[in-house]
């Protein structure tokens, strides 16, 4: 064996290298099968950052399709309900610069809303039930419908199909438990005198 190697160094080197190649190839092939990842994990991560209103304002039928599209390279600023914070979070995840919200898809709402059906006026057409992406409307044909406020994402997809316009988007009630401490103003200017000298004095100097 050793003698053969010494006598035919080229052939034995070739055999050794091909052998190694085969072994590692098989190993890699096995690993690829064994540790295969189902689906794209990035999509799940993006999807978990999106607000899940399922409103379709981004132009996709729901949050997950938009997440898939972002994973494929779509721009990340098409989600008005998520607003700037969502854009920042996705930008952080994908390590890209965070753009401003694309106004084409709508504006970021200041207050959260929920749908409210004026029940006296409801004719029981079930159109809103079919439109609701999260099954938050309860009712049956020719019977009154109502919104389960806790489940409503405020996507307002039910407002448009209503033939009698009996759905309102009302701001979410905020009580003492929803109250938030206001953010104190951030000190800008290096020293206190920066603020007291207003811009007018600078203009005067100029």
């Amino acid at each position: 064996m050793i003698e053969f190697v010494f006598q035919n160094p080229i052939i034995s080197a070739l055999v050794a290298l091909v052998g190694l190649g085969l072994i590692f190839g098989a190993l890699l092939g096995f690993a690829a099968e064994k540790f295969k990842i189902e689906g794209d994990p990035v999509i799940d991560q993006i999807d978990s950052l999106l607000p899940q209103t399922q409103c379709g304002q981004c132009g996709f039928p729901g949050c997950r399709p938009y997440a898939e599209s972002i994973a494929d390279g779509d721009s990340i600023n098409k989600c008005p309900p998520g607003g700037q914070s969502t854009i920042n979070a996705i930008a952080n995840l994908l390590d890209v610069p965070a753009p401003e919200l694309d106004q084409e898809h709508g504006e970021e709402a200041d207050i959260k809303t929920v749908a409210y059906i004026r029940e006296d006026e409801c004719i029981g057409c079930t159109k809103c039930i079919q439109a609701c992406p999260v099954d938050a409307i309860l009712g049956a044909a020719k019977l009154m419908h109502t919104v389960i406020a806790d489940e409503c994402t405020g996507c307002d997809l039910c407002v448009e199909p209503c033939p009698v316009d009996c759905i309102d988007m009302l701001p979410v009630e905020s009580g003492i438990n929803q109250w938030q401490w206001p953010t104190p103003p951030i000190a800008n200017g290096l020293i206190a005198t920066d603020r007291t000298h207003s811009s007018s004095s600078h203009e005067g100097a100029a």
């Binding site: 607000p51 003492i176 953010t183």
Partner: protein
Amino acid sequence: MRQTWVTPGGVHPPENKHQSVTQPIGSLPIPEKLVVPLGQHIGAPAIACVKLGDKVLKGQKIADPAGTVSVAIHAPTSGTVSAIEARPIAHSSGIEALCIEITSDGKDQWIALQGIADFEHTTPKTLLSIITDAGIAGMGGAGFPTAVKLNPGFHRPIDTLIVNATECEPYITADDALIRERAEEIIEGIRILSHTLGNPSNILIGIEDNKPEAIQALEPHTQDTGINVVSFPTKYPSGGEKQLIYILTGKELPSGQIPADIGIVCVNIGTTYAIKRAVVEGEPLVSRVTTMTGEACEINRNYDVLIGTPVSHMLAYNKFDAEKCSRVIMGGPMMGFSLTSKDIPIVKTSNCLLAPSVEEIPHNEPAQPCIRCGMCAEACPASLLPQQLLWYSQAKDYDRLQSHNLFDCIECGACSYVCPSNIPLVQHYRSSKSDIKKAEEEKIKSAQARERFEFRQQRIEQADKEREAKRAARREAALQAKKTAAPNSAADIVAAAQARTEAKQLSPEQEQAKLERAVSSAEMRVQKAQSKLDTAVASEEPEDKIKILSAALSGAQQKLEKAKTRLAEQSN
């Protein structure tokens, strides 16, 4: 002398406690109207059980506890329920919440009370329900329902009961005054607590050494009871639960855990007094000792104030000078909050009402940028990094805030107190904390929405699939039926056609009748044509017309012949 431990950080603000302890605990005249909020404690607000216009007696229950983490609310005086509506309450937000307003009848008449003299032979369970029904929630400031705290469950055995008499915040002397005058009842209350907790081996009263009179008052009552009065050097904030536990036991409470997890229950000393009143006298919590202090009031002293007394009533009685006052603060100068309205009532957690003059507590200076001096980090009693927290708070970097243990911040305000740039650090932390909590709630909600959306998608898909499957099955069935019925060859087609014509053919009798009818109608037509021709000949009509008529007659006669032959054929 027991060993005590020293907490990191802390500050020594001017104490200003002497002003309000020169006089004994006083009492205020009963205000005309008392406003009792339904949510004075942590947990679900109580549910009103009286109606508008109801007559109530002092100590009568006016609201039932809602669920386990809640306490009852009682009428602070006798009178009439004059309103149940949203009113501004003692909360930093100035938000309105549901309150019961009682118009006093001036009699202050108690409801019949029944106490338990021999609590040692009463089960802890009964005592806990008495405590809940008496409306007792932590009176140190947070207002956590005491019965919940006293019932940690069998998996968390309690070996240490700590009674918090620290009262570390400047100006406040409510506990100090209470101990000086009612030490015996307090000790009785501690014994009740000890009994409900299964007699823990250590009972400690933690008190700062700036209250020598109070310590002296406690001593004669604690001898031979196993209750230790432990005094330690004054420092703000020693009265924080975590800090006090460390000072007295040397144990650090792990982040995110409650004292019961390490075998400790910590109760405010005012609460022990309320428990004694509730159990032994059967008296619900309708009043508390509150310090009225500050230079803008001429009289500085402690009062036994009815819950629901409007702040304005208390201020007026103490000769409040609005001109002198910078702001009215509920609580102390470090952790209290400025009141937005003077109609706000005193609640179970209001230990102090501070009306300082502008010189005493000046208006907030504008915040300047952080100069990285690091004094806040030295002052922090929780060993956090206030500067880092400030940066992350401004950048809204919630992940880093949490990894820097923002939620271990006790909001004591020591960092803001020492900050040379006047940065309202605690406000930043509070704001970030509520942002993080909101974000977490939203995350839960969005997960729920996703689940529902995905379920709906799946349902729609399945319904579509089922419909498609049904349609396919119907199509298949139709095809099958067609196949079995369809002709296979040309011979079959001929046979089918023959079958059809056969089916169409009439029976011989019908055929006979039909032919007979045809013969008789042909005969009729011949007769008609004959008579027409006869009349035409008789009236000498023109030649042409006679010709036409005779042709019609012969045609009719031919048809009759034909019909007759066919009838004859059929008969054969």
